[in-house]
Amino acid sequence: MADKLSQEIIDKIKAHADMEGGEVTPETELNALGIHSLELTEIIFDLEEAYGIEIEMNTVEAWGNLKNVGDMVAAVRELIGAKA
């Protein structure tokens, strides 16, 4: 399911990813994106800025457990919800 939030996050990821034409979907594994782990942090900060959410460092660490793009979308969705 690619709602507005998923699509926006996927677009941000695509700007950093090295997929050689492959599609990024919620099922795409994060380690298949060809993104340096530190760059993943950069994407998280981008999301922070875009959605006015705050991701504490321990949250960032927790995100180390995220497996795929869909997990990332769900985590952002939760933070936006917590803010509202």
Partner: protein, 403 residues
Amino acid sequence: MGRSRVVITGLGGLCGLGTSVREIWAAMRAGRSSIGEITTAPLHELKVRIGAEIKELPEHGLEKKRLVTMDRYSLIAILAAGEALAQAGLKIDENNASRIGASVGTGIFGAETVEENYRGLFIEGRSRANVFAVPRIMPGAPAGQVSMEHGLRGPVFGVTSACASSNHAIAIAADQLRLGRADVMVAGGTDAPLSYGVLKGWEALRALARETCRPFSADRDGLVIGEGAGMAVLETYEHATARGATILAELAGSGMSADATDIVAPTVEGPAAAMRACLADAGLKPEDVDYVNAHGTGTKANDEIETAAIRRVFGAHADRLSVSSTKSMHAHCMGASGALEMIACVMAIREGLVPPTANYREKDAACDLDITPNVARERKIRAAISNGFAFGGTNAVLAFRAA
């Protein structure tokens, strides 16, 4: 027991003249200058419009995941090191990796990254710097990136002394070999300074040429900045012969000194002391040297003072020396200059050909050495020295001898 001889078994380089040692040397032989209009970087309102740039990088196949972590100056260092290691025919594996290191000079820093981030923060209103800003900019980055790309696990570090950085890096790499800390060192320098902020700083110094770099010519009016990287694979003679490597030349010695007078104005004594120390270290008499690759920046002050320093060290033999400034062709590549000039020295020795000082027009009584104007000269070269003098008064000179 004498100390170990240090030899060069591989060379690699990229600069305005070409993206391999073969291309660079072909241009030097032909006396072709690569100085021209800068087209690869946005110059905004800068007055300076000329430099010596690498128009197109060769295919390198590095993954995007790796490329995002490095500035241009690290990338070209990796490419130069790759060429040098390939020529050396050295197989790096679990057994020898910890005995192979790298020492990489830089006189600037990751300038392209500084530029992008300052513009982002100050002009475009971004709230934070790129997550890789620090690891891309830091002066130790090229050495670290070279080690990662080529799997070198021995002593690895950056070296910085402005325009003499390469020479210091190469000199100290030889020390690592002689001290037994490593069996092989990849040594050289890199810089990619053709970006707005760096050029703006040089513009303020009023040290830049208007049209081109004309070392030792009476109508010279300054230096031209270039980008590039150069690397050598250094190893002890014993190590090289034991593995049957082809020896390109010997790094016969090095000499270092400091002016300890002024942050920008050079002295005669400092450079002369470094040349003397280099000859002594290499066990060379002045009359054993046939070629001097001059620091030769093309500024009024440097070329006059360097001429006086060479005369002071070489005495009557100064008039039998062939001298040239290859900066007339590859421009002043800052922390990479000494490494590119090492390529000139080694190839000159191997091919018996003195690369010329290009763009030369008018005799200057204060620069009255045989500076090999415009056309290369055939001559047997037994030994060559390469001068590197720098802002800060930090001087380093290298000596090369036929293998």
